[in-house]
């Protein structure tokens, strides 16, 4: 990525550059006339191209003492390069090194299981808290065995406390929710989130921006955006994506993964033809573990098929089109703020009423699905990690 200087300043300060972020390995830079950019720590830069570093007439690149700037590619120097005592420029050949991508630690553990390396046996680990484990057996820390529970230590990055401590080496298998470091220099970067919930991220971002202590501050719209975010979280936790699954054309009973763990904590050790399946949002877990290849068909809630070109037809019946228009008008008026925006609240209410009616129709038509709605919610209740509480109570 090309970074061009916008003002004089420290290399490592984002405001020095016109683009978001700061230049690093693989990036190219251009220092514009009148700008003095100061590098204060060693770094490599450049893409091995013909203009890896460009210093325009009147621009200055200054290196403080005892640091090294390694440049991959050519330098076009029409301005000045100031080197303090001990500072060096290193012209490297070959392709620039690829910077390592940090892998963030999980932020939540849905489920954990342990495989003892000696016996090869898997067991489900139950979420517990350290206090109850201590109460049940004050000597658990000195009595190693096959782990039965885990608790999340209040440390960052996340650590799991297994109890009892494993007597043998083994494997820990965890289903997690992971944070994502988005590459903010890549417009094509995706969020690894189902498209149907992506608007929640937008509303949360808007809530933060509009409640910031700056010119953009707008309490009314910030409150609305936060409300929309919270509403979306509630709906997402209640959502399901897998409706029906057939293995070799035979339907499998579906249940929550927590229920399957409760019924048979050792299911992970059994292999054979699947006779039921656990579902956890987009995860399908056949039980028993397949002993051979099986053909599967799954009926799923499809992400809305989006019409991309003006000639594409809207994939929705005429009877529901008015609700789409209502919602779109409501969102489009958001930027006006004030009364103009609040006057469209009735459009949003109408949209939500139509959804409630449609959900009622679904529940009547597909009654067998009812126990499977709210799977994420159900999992969360059965393995709670948070107890909702009023602030101050």
């Amino acid at each position: 990525m090309l970074f061009t200087s916008e003002s004089s300043g420290n290399w490592s300060v984002p405001g020095t550059w016109a683009q978001p972020g700061i230049p690093g390995p693989g990036d190219t830079i251009q220092i514009n006339p009148g700008n003095v950019v100061t590098l204060t720590s060693s770094l490599s830069v450049g893409d091995a191209g013909p203009s890896a570093v460009v210093i325009e007439l009147g621009g200055v690149l200054a290196l403080t003492a005892n640091i090294t700037l390694t440049i991959y590619g050519a330098v076009i120097d029409l301005g000045d390069i100031d080197l303090a005592l001990g500072a060096t420029l290193n012209f490297a050949s070959g392709p620039p090194p690829v910077p390592p991508v940090p892998i963030p630690a999980p932020i939540f553990v849905h489920r954990a299981s342990w495989q003892d390396a000696f016996s090869g046996i898997w067991t489900n680990l139950w979420r517990e808290d350290a206090w109850s484990v201590d109460r049940a057996n004050p000597l658990w820390t000195v009595e190693p065995g096959m782990p039965r529970e885990y608790s999340e230590a209040e440390l960052s990055p996340l650590q799991l406390q297994l109890s009892p401590p494993p007597a043998n080496a083994g494997s820990l298998e965890i289903i997690t929710v992971d944070p994502l470091l988005i590459d903010i220099t890549n417009p094509s970067a995706t969020f690894n989130l189902p498209d149907e919930w992506i608007h929640a991220v937008k509303w949360a971002a808007l809530a933060e921006i509009l409640s910031s202590d700056s010119q953009i501050n707008d309490p009314l719209r910030a409150k609305y955006a936060e409300h929309r975010y919270q509403q979306s979280v509630t709906f997402a936790r209640d959502a399901r994506s897998i409706l029906r699954t057939l293995v070799n054309n035979i339907p499998l009973p579906l249940d929550s993964l927590a229920s399957i763990d409760a019924g048979n904590p050792f299911w992970r050790n059994s292999s054979g033809p699947p006779s039921l399946a656990g579902v956890l949002y987009d995860f399908l877990i056949p039980v028993d573990v397949p002993d051979q290849a099986y053909g599967v068909t799954s009926d799923v809630v499809e992400s809305a098929p989006i019409p991309l070109t003006p000639a594409s037809f809207l994939p929705i019946g005429e009877e529901d089109l008015a609700h789409i228009v209502d919602y779109a008008l409501h969102v489009l008026l958001f930027k006006c703020g004030g009364d103009e925006f609040t006057s469209t609240m009735s459009l949003y209410d109408g949209f939500m009423n139509a959804i409630a009616m449609r959900k009622g129709v679904n529940l009547a038509k597909i009654r067998y699905l009812t126990p499977l709605f709210g799977q994420v919610q159900k999992e969360s209740q059965e393995r709670p990690d948070r107890i909702e509480q009023e602030v101050g109570t």
Binding site: Q19, P106, H110, L160, Q161, S163, P166, A167, I175, V177, P179, L180, I182, P187, S188, F191, N192, L193, P194, W197, I198, A200, K202, A204, L206, Q215, R237, S271, D282, L284, I285, V289, P290, D291, Q292, V296, T297, D299, V300, V301, E302, S303, A304, P307, A311, S312, F313, L314, I316, E318, L321, H323, Y327, A328, L329, F334, K335, I355, K359, N362
Partner: protein, 150 residues
């Protein structure tokens, strides 16, 4: 999927422009209106399960977990991009909709502020909603205190 309705995206966009009394699409441009229509469709689908489809894949011996966003990516899509979301937010904040370049934005809010807010919002949603899911398997020796760092 054609044939649900006889209204095209272009036609609906024009209809909405008309309702907004902005037939020339001066104040609300066509791409901005389309973002709003797409969000309406996604939200409608998320809350009503309106679109359902059948997909096929294979179970493999010894593999216990199947992520349908991987097995059936055309049905369980995860395709929205940072550039698109940045533009959406720029429209809603009356800023030049030039995406992550931030070109032409006013001094009211910077593109860095928007990008940082998006980054935090994404992870806030993951923590609050408990999706999306990942599976990890790590080898552990015998930690004497039973503490395993993830």
């Amino acid at each position: 999927v054609a044939g649900y309705s006889q209204v095209s995206l272009g036609t609906l966009t024009s209809q909405i422009s008309g309702i907004l009394d902005d037939a020339g699409q001066v104040y609300w441009t066509a791409p901005e209106i389309q973002f709003a229509i797409w969000e309406a469709l996604r939200y409608w689908g998320a809350l009503t399960n309106y679109w359902r489809a059948r997909g096929a894949f294979a179970l493999s011996p010894g593999t216990p977990y199947y992520d349908l966003s991987v097995q059936l990516p055309a049905l369980r899509t995860r395709s929205w991009t940072l550039g698109q979301m940045t533009q959406e937010i720029q429209y809603l904040l009356l800023e030049a909709p030039n995406g992550i370049s931030g070109v032409g934005m006013s001094g009211q809010v910077s593109v860095s502020t928007i990008l940082s807010a998006i980054q935090r919002a994404r992870n806030r949603f993951a923590l609050d909603s408990k999706i999306p899911l990942s599976i990890h398997r790590t080898q552990a020796s015998t930690p004497p205190d039973g503490l395993v760092t993830l």
